[in-house]
Symmetry: C2
Subunit: 183 residues, 2 copies
């Protein structure tokens, strides 16, 4: 499967495309950052984020988009920009009919490093090893986007089995709501 990971942000929106399946070596197809100028209006910045994400979708044609789930316990100003940029990323994907998965930062860290409390350097270092890169991708937002894509590929079999179980359950009983973040 080919996955676009998006680490959302208004100033720097990390994007990374990884191809592979769980249990086999992964391949990085691209990594980068969509930037918007801090002095621009929020509305203009959202248009630039949309344009950037669209270019990545056009160029790499991913089958899935994995976006970091935003929490609001962080800095108030930052979290609003992050929520708004993540909305644009989700919108771009869903408008094309691509499945969107949300993964929390600790899910991503745990998937990639084995610990939900790993720091940026550990995530960057594991992403570098897993994708056989020469050096950790910079800035950290780019490495985080790749980690999101890797997390999605590795979690997909479990999510797939869950969806099958829910679908089977649905055929015999009343409707069941999937947990958030699974599709």
């Amino acid at each position: 499967m080919r996955v676009l990971g998006v680490d959302p942000g208004l100033t720097r929106c990390g994007v990374g495309v990884v191809e592979g399946t769980a249990g086999r070596p992964l391949r990085m197809l691209g990594v980068g950052v969509v930037r918007t100028p801090a002095e621009a209006d929020t509305a203009e910045r959202l248009v630039l984020v949309e344009r950037g994400i669209e270019e990545w979708l056009d160029e790499h044609r991913p089958e899935y988009v994995a976006v970091e789930r935003v929490f609001s316990q962080h800095n108030v100003r930052t979290v609003m920009g992050t929520a708004q940029a993540s909305a644009v990323a989700m919108l771009c994907a869903a408008r094309r009919g691509l499945p969107v998965a949300l993964h929390t930062p600790s899910e991503v860290k745990a998937a990639v490093t084995g610990s939900g409390r790993a720091d940026k350097a550990q995530v960057g270092s594991m992403v570098t090893r897993l994708l056989r890169l020469d050096a950790p991708p910079k800035p950290a937002d780019a490495a985080d986007a790749l980690a999101l894509a890797i997390c999605h590929i590795w979690r997909a079999p479990a999510t797939g089995r869950l969806q099958q179980a829910v679908a089977a359950h649905r055929r015999t009983t009343a409707p069941v709501r999937l947990p958030k973040g699974t599709r």
Copy 2:
């Protein structure tokens, strides 16, 4: 001037179009609510919000879009949906080159009722009088969207003078940043 007011939300996104100029009677051109199903994925809901806003922009061709400025001191879950829906509204407007203005809830209440602490009923009642409606628009999100549009029309002359002053100042001195929400 013709203004589309947007009271952003994922479950109910209030929309209202008002035409007029400060100091003269106002005219309501349309009011409604863009709804999305709570059981749908956030990404799908954002696509529905986009589609709804686009329809309102197509039908009423406003010259300005006024969106409620979202703060995050409210309920964590609610505020994320509100921030995401507001991002979609801002994106739709800016993509068309329409100026987007953000007004805080207290600015809107103060503009329409004279008090920044007015309750929903007072806002609905003043919107009804100002637009010479038979009854307050329902739900409250629809009335709030009209109040946003009215607030924008009434604040526009002051904002325009401010922008002229800043532009004049810029011609003679170093760059000045406009306060947030003015354009």
